[in-house]
C-alpha cells in the first residue's frame, strides 16, 4: 500500500510539472492554433536561469528560502522575456502563412535555443542544488512523500488556482478568452490581439520556467537537451486533457504522470518514455479531442 501511495504521489508530482508546461502549450494552441515546439526549450532555459541565479546567490550567502523564491522569480521573468521574443521573431511574421510554416519555424527555434544553451553553457549534465529544504514535520511520512514533492504539489496547485482566477475574472483574462473564441471578432470589439498573444506566451513561458526550476531542483541535474522530452510529454498531457482547455491540461498532466509512475513502478523502467508516447498515439487515434475537449465539426 505504501508502495502504491509512493508511486501515486510521485506520479502526481511528475504530473504537476507536466501540467505546468502543458498550460503553455494549451493556452497558445487555444489562441493561435500553433504547437509551440520551442516551449520545451523555454522550460529548459528557465531551469538554466534558475541554476545560474541560485548559484550566484549561494555565493553571496543568502538563506535557502530566499534563494528558492528569487531563483524561481528571476527564471520566470527571463522565460517570459524569451517567450515574448520567440513569438515576435519566429511566429508573428507567420500569422497569415499556411499551417506548416509556423510549425517548421518553431522546430527551427527549438533547435536554435537548444544549441544556444549548449554553446553558451555546456553540453554536460550540470548538478542542480536542492533548493527546497527538508521540512521537519514531514519526517514521519518521508517514505511516502518527500518535502520537495509536497512543495511542488502545493506550489502547482496555487499557481493553477491563480491562473484560473486571472483568466476568469480579470480584464486580460477576458481578452484572452475572446481572442481564443474568435480573433477577428475580438479585434472588432477593441481587443489588442497582438498584445493578448504576447501576454499568453509570456504567462505560458513563466509557468514552464517555474516547473523547470522546481523539477530540476528535485531531480538534481539539468542539461541542454531536457526540453525536448519534457516538451513532448507536456504536449501529450495537453492533448490528453483536450488541447485548448486549461483544466484539461492539468488533468492530462496528472493522468500522464500517474501512468508513467505506475508503469515504471510495476512494469519496467526501461520503457518509461515509450509509455508516454504510446499513450499519446492511442489518445490521438481514439479520442483526438481529449478527455475534456469537445470534437469540433469542421466548417466548410
Amino acid at each position: 500500500m505504501d508502495y502504491f501511495l509512493e508511486l501515486f504521489l510521485g506520479g502526481l508530482t511528475r504530473g504537476s510539472i507536466y501540467a505546468l508546461i502543458a498550460l503553455g502549450y494549451t493556452m497558445v494552441y487555444g489562441i493561435i492554433g500553433l504547437i509551440n515546439f520551442a516551449h520545451g526549450e523555454i522550460y529548459m532555459l528557465g531551469a538554466f536561469t534558475g541554476l545560474i541565479v541560485a548559484s550566484l546567490l549561494t555565493v553571496f550567502g543568502l538563506n535557502q528560502y530566499a534563494i528558492l523564491v528569487l531563483a524561481s522569480l528571476v527564471a520566470m521573468v527571463y522565460a517570459a522575456a524569451y517567450g515574448y521574443t520567440v513569438e515576435k521573431i519566429a511566429y508573428r511574421p507567420l500569422r497569415q502563412a499556411s499551417r506548416l510554416s509556423p510549425l517548421i519555424s518553431a522546430i527551427g527555434m527549438s533547435i536554435f535555443l537548444q544549441n544556444y544553451v549548449r554553446l553558451a553553457q555546456t553540453s554536460d549534465f550540470l548538478p542542480f542544488p536542492a533548493l527546497i529544504p527538508d521540512l521537519a514535520f514531514m519526517e514521519p511520512y518521508a517514505h511516502i512523500i518527500g518535502s520537495a514533492e509536497l512543495v511542488i504539489l502545493l506550489v502547482t496547485a496555487m499557481v493553477m488556482l491563480l491562473l484560473t482566477a486571472v483568466i476568469r475574472f480579470t480584464r486580460i483574462g477576458r481578452a484572452m478568452r475572446a481572442t481564443a473564441q474568435d480573433k477577428g471578432m475580438a479585434m472588432l470589439v477593441g481587443v489588442d490581439v497582438n498584445r493578448v498573444i504576447s501576454i499568453t506566451f509570456m504567462i505560458g513561458s513563466a509557468l514552464a520556467a517555474l516547473g523547470g526550476v522546481l523539477i530540476a531542483s528535485h531531480i538534481g541535474q539539468i542539461n541542454f537537451a531536457i526540453g525536448f522530452i519534457a516538451g513532448i510529454k507536456a504536449f501529450t498531457a495537453a492533448v490528453l486533457g483536450g488541447i485548448g482547455s486549461i483544466p484539461g491540461a492539468v488533468l492530462g498532466g496528472f493522468v500522464l504522470g500517474c501512468t508513467e509512475s505506475f508503469a515504471t513502478g510495476y512494469v519496467s523502467s526501461d520503457y518509461e518514455d515509450v509509455f508516454a508516447f504510446g499513450l499519446l498515439v492511442l489518445i490521438l487515434v481514439f479520442r483526438p479531442a481529449g478527455i475534456l475537449g469537445r470534437a469540433a465539426a469542421e466548417k466548410v
Partner: protein
C-alpha cells in the same frame, strides 16, 4: 519592427538608431544570464564573460539597423508586375539549350569522375550527401506532395538499416538480398503508421509521427535481445561486387556509384509519380482534403500509398547506410535526423525535385567543408529554418504549379505574348 516602414518619408536615421539601440539593449538583457555567467555548481565557481555581452550588443545593433534599412527600402520600392531580372535569367537558363546543356554536361562529368579526382574521404562525404538527396526526395513524397507533415521519417530509415544488419547477423543475408527486403519492411511500417493516423491532420499528425519515430528508437535502444541495445551491431559487410571482396577504397567508390544510380532512379520515379494519377491525387489532398474527397479520390488509399512509397526510399537508404558504415546503433536515428531531412525538403522547396537535390547537397556538404563552424552548425541550422520560413517559405526553388493563368489581356499583350497567356509549366 512593425511600424518601421509605415510612413516611408517619416523614418529618420535618428529614429532607426534609437530603435536599434533598444533592440540591442533588449538582447543584452536577454542573453545576460545564459551567455555571460557560467557557473560550476560543484566548485562554487562563477565565470563572468562580459565580452560576450559586448558582442551581442554590437551584433544585434548592427543587424537591427541593416534589417530596418532593408524593410525601409522594400516598402519604398513600388511592387512591379514584371518578373525580376533574376527570375528572367532563371527562366532563360531553364529554357534555352545552349545555356543549360553545357551546365548539365559539366555536372554529369563532375559526378561521374568525382572518385578519380578526390580522396576516399571526399567520396565518402559525397556518398553521404547523395543518401540525403534520396531521403529528401522520399520525404518529399509525403510532405511535399501529399502535404502530410511526417516528423518520424527517420524511423523508416532505422527499419531499413536494422533489417539489413539483423538479417545479415542471423541469416547471413547479403546486401542485394536485403535491399528489397529493407525497402519492403519500411513500406510495411509506413502502412502500419499510416492506418491509425488516417483521421489526423496537420499538427496532430506531426506529433504522432514524431512519437512513432521516438518509439521505434526507444525500442531499438531497450530491447537488447532483439537489437543488441545501445551497443549496436558491428561488422556489417559492405556490398560485394559480383562476389568480389573489394578493398575499403574500392567499396567506397562502388557505393558512390551505387548512390548515383539510386539518386537517378529516385528522380526518375518521383518525377513519373508526380505526373501520375496518384501524384495528382496527392497534390489535391495537400491542397484541400474535403474538396479532394468530393472529387471522388479515395483518401485512405492515397494517404497510405504516400506513407508507403515515402518509407520505401528511407528503407533502401537505411540498408545502404548500414552497409556503408558497417556499424549501426540507435543514436543514429534521433529526431534531429528527421528534422534534418525535413529541413532539406523545406529549404529545397516542397514538391520540387531540383530544390531538394540542391538543398541536400548544400546542407550536408557545407558543414563538412566549414569545419571551423562545426560547433555552430546546429545553431545556424535552426536559425536558417526560421529565417527561411519568414522570408522564403516556398524554398530555394519553388515547384512550378500546373495552373491555368487568367491574365488580363492588356498586361499580357503589353509585355511579351509568349510569357503571359500560355499555361504555365
Amino acid at each position: 519592427m512593425t511600424d518601421a516602414g509605415k510612413e516611408s518619408g517619416g523614418m529618420t536615421t535618428a529614429r532607426a538608431v534609437r530603435r536599434s539601440l533598444l533592440v540591442s539593449l533588449w538582447f543584452m538583457f536577454l542573453t545576460l544570464p545564459i551567455l555571460v555567467i557560467r557557473v560550476n555548481p560543484v566548485a562554487q565557481e562563477i565565470v563572468w564573460r562580459w565580452r560576450n555581452l559586448f558582442l551581442i550588443g554590437v551584433g544585434s545593433f548592427v543587424l537591427s539597423l541593416v534589417g530596418q534599412f532593408l524593410t525601409h527600402r522594400q516598402t519604398r520600392r513600388t511592387p512591379s508586375l514584371t518578373p525580376g531580372r533574376l527570375a528572367i535569367f532563371r527562366q532563360r537558363c531553364m529554357r534555352e539549350p545552349q545555356i543549360y546543356v553545357p551546365f548539365l554536361l559539366c555536372a554529369v562529368l563532375t559526378t561521374l569522375l568525382f572518385p578519380w579526382f578526390f580522396s576516399t574521404y571526399q567520396t565518402n562525404i559525397m556518398t553521404t550527401a547523395l543518401m540525403y538527396v534520396v531521403l529528401g526526395l522520399g520525404l518529399n513524397i509525403v510532405v511535399g506532395l501529399a502535404g502530410l507533415l511526417d516528423l518520424g521519417y527517420v524511423a523508416f530509415y532505422a527499419v531499413g538499416a536494422y533489417s539489413y544488419a539483423l538479417l545479415n547477423h542471423h541469416f547471413g543475408l547479403g546486401f542485394w538480398a536485403a535491399l528489397p527486403i529493407g525497402a519492403g519492411l519500411a513500406a510495411l511500417f509506413g502502412i502500419l503508421l499510416g492506418f491509425p493516423v488516417l483521421r489526423l491532420r496537420g499538427d496532430y499528425l506531426a506529433i504522432v509521427t514524431l512519437g512513432f519515430g521516438e518509439i521505434i528508437r526507444l525500442i531499438l535502444e531497450n530491447w537488447n535481445e532483439f537489437s543488441f541495445g545501445p551497443s549496436g551491431i558491428a561488422n556489417i559487410p559492405r556490398p560485394g561486387f559480383f562476389g568480389l571482396d573489394l578493398s575499403l577504397a574500392g567499396a567506397t567508390v562502388y557505393l558512390y556509384y551505387l548512390m548515383i544510380g539510386l539518386v537517378l532512379f529516385t528522380i526518375f520515379v518521383v518525377n513519373r509519380l508526380q505526373n501520375s494519377r496518384i501524384g495528382r491525387a496527392w497534390i489535391a489532398l495537400r491542397e484541400d482534403e474535403l474538396a479532394c474527397q468530393a472529387m471522388g479520390i479515395d483518401k485512405t488509399r492515397t494517404k497510405l500509398t504516400a506513407f508507403a512509397l515515402g518509407a520505401t526510399w528511407a528503407g533502401m537508404v537505411g540498408v545502404i547506410f548500414a552497409a556503408k558504415t558497417t556499424f549501426i546503433n540507435p543514436p543514429s536515428f534521433t529526431f534531429l535526423e528527421s528534422a534534418m531531412i525535413l529541413a532539406i525538403v523545406v529549404l529545397g522547396g516542397m514538391g520540387s525535385i531540383a530544390g531538394v537535390v540542391i538543398a541536400a547537397l548544400v546542407l550536408i556538404l557545407l558543414p563538412e567543408y566549414l569545419r571551423a563552424f562545426a560547433e555552430y552548425r546546429m545553431l545556424l541550422f535552426g536559425a536558417v529554418l526560421v529565417i527561411m520560413m519568414i522570408f522564403r517559405p516556398q524554398g530555394l526553388i519553388s515547384s512550378a504549379r500546373r495552373a491555368y493563368k487568367f491574365m488580363p489581356v492588356p498586361v499580357a499583350a503589353g509585355r511579351n505574348k509568349r510569357h503571359g497567356t500560355a499555361a504555365d509549366h
